[in-house]
Amino acid sequence: MKFIFTCRCFALFVLLNQPTPILPASSNLTYQPMDHEPFLYMLGRKKLLDAQYKCYERMEQLPPYQGEGLYCNRTWDGWMCWDDTPAGAMSYQFCPDYFPDFDPMEKVTKYCDEKGVWFKHPENNRTWSNYTLCNAFTPEKLQNAYVLYYLALVGHSMSIFTLVISLGIFMLFRSLACQRVTLHKNMFLTYILNSIIIIIHLVEVVPNGELVRRDPVSSHDFVFNFIFETLQLKASALPLEQEEGKMKEPKDREVVTCKILHFFHQYMMACNYFWMLCEGIYLHTLIVVAVFANSQRMLWYYLLGWGFPLVPTIIHAITRALYFNDNCWLSVDTHLLYIIHGPVMAALVVNFFFLLNIVRVLVTKMRQTHEAESYMYLKAVKATMILVPLLGIQFVVFPWRPSNKLLGKIYDYLMHSLIHFQGFFVATIYCFCNNEVQTTVKRQWNQFKIQWSQRWGRRPANRSASRAAASAEAGDLPVYICHQELRELGANNHDQEGAEIIALNIIEQESSA
């Protein structure tokens, strides 16, 4: 699953860094670097020399041309390596990433004409490769990158804000406390931690003026990949030591820190999805398996939500260190990433099936018994039913980015909005849109108003009226999933009175509180 994330991410940093002058296609390279030259230039230069070295080695070691007829000889055109090409053929490669405004998703072309000679530019009659597409669209992509960057910042900030408020509400109001809310609180915590990591890196690392390499990024990780790539480049950014003949190696500590951060981020991402799974399992156990509310042991949920994600994360870390120990573990070209994404997707699928089962059971019950209770359960499940597809859709839709420019743009904005605002959606759906929470908060607000007006010596007659109003409000709304009275009542009453009795009970509860 690779989300084709065009060079907006690295093009983004052109704006944040001093822009490197654009070199003409296949022209000669500039002369010796000075000591104070910008980092971007030196990094690009290093990559270029590396490519040149490998090219000459490759040209030496590849077997001679096997085909028949005329062909153009293998060559190094100054920037890229070209193999023997049959006459009349056009050779393609991806653009190099030596310069910040080159998009490695674009193509370079070199034409071998019918006589077996590489195409010469008509102006100056020298061999020429077409690098024009590499930086043709950069300003536009840069602008896009900026918009998406700010979208990410705003999304995660709003997520943290709403999640903290929701967490506060759940912790403050004891009357809301129950097992399901505990699950919500844990899930909110994972989202908060996740968003914090991302924001810190977006704010701190990105404006530090480093170049970012493009890589096709996997669905959820694209933001983090461009964050961590800048860390990688920061770690390897040091001036050429001309006395010793080689470049300084990045400090080990920086490299290890980078990998630890990567590890932690992967762990938080997995936790997100596993807590979603816990929510689904809890509802399933409650409704389908018909265990009493508030009587399940939460230990297993904690194990699954916080403990189990460690397993794939640690396996990934070990195998990555052994087999694919690239700088900062940034590369997404490896299948080792599926060690984490596989279980995450499995969790989503399992969750989805649990929810389908719940809906099936509820609908069957409703048809059979016409109980109000089942309908209320359905409403309670509604929140989870919305969230699971919302979170999972990015894994399903991501591989199919439309190649059409406009559609692709729409797709990008849509996907980015979905991803970065996830915490916000979770907080809204689970907390702010929850009737129970709304009631509790309103009641608290009314009480606060009464106390405030009492302090200022208003007539006390309002007090009982407001209180009754508050209680009546509380009575209207279902508190079902959390309170055990429901199950007992629901089991005993099979007629329509059940709902009223439940409501009455609740009013009694509230007046005695």
Binding site: Y53, K246, V289, Q296, F308, I315, Y323, A346, V350
Partner: protein, 147 residues
Amino acid sequence: MEARARPPHLLPLLLLLCGECARVCGCNETRMLERLPVCGKAFADMMHKVDVWKWCNLSEFIVYYESFTNCTEVETNIVGCYWPNPLAQGFITGIHRQFFANCTVDRPHWEDPPDEVLIPLIAVPVLLTVAMAGLVVWRSKRTDQLL
């Protein structure tokens, strides 16, 4: 160290002159072939400072390699030729043969493990996930039965 000996501010002038010369004189390939070995010698002198077993690792001597590349560019431009060109390429190939003939083709630095290792590595966490979910459901059920 010929390339470095030339003061930087003269270079643009030289290149400009070369440009003019090229238009007038054309590319003097013979002269180029005479001048290029100078770069080669300078490179050889620099490479002898590096231990022989390090010669296949570019990061050990990248600065010298860059110096050499720049030198060939400059010499080519001086005689009015464009860089790169087939003769210069041939010369550089010769240098590569001289120093790096025994180097193995640089495979991609990092590779995925073979499939026999990779597939179990992915399958096991996935199966564990499903198993764990089932376990949690089962434990919740058991709690109910105990009550």
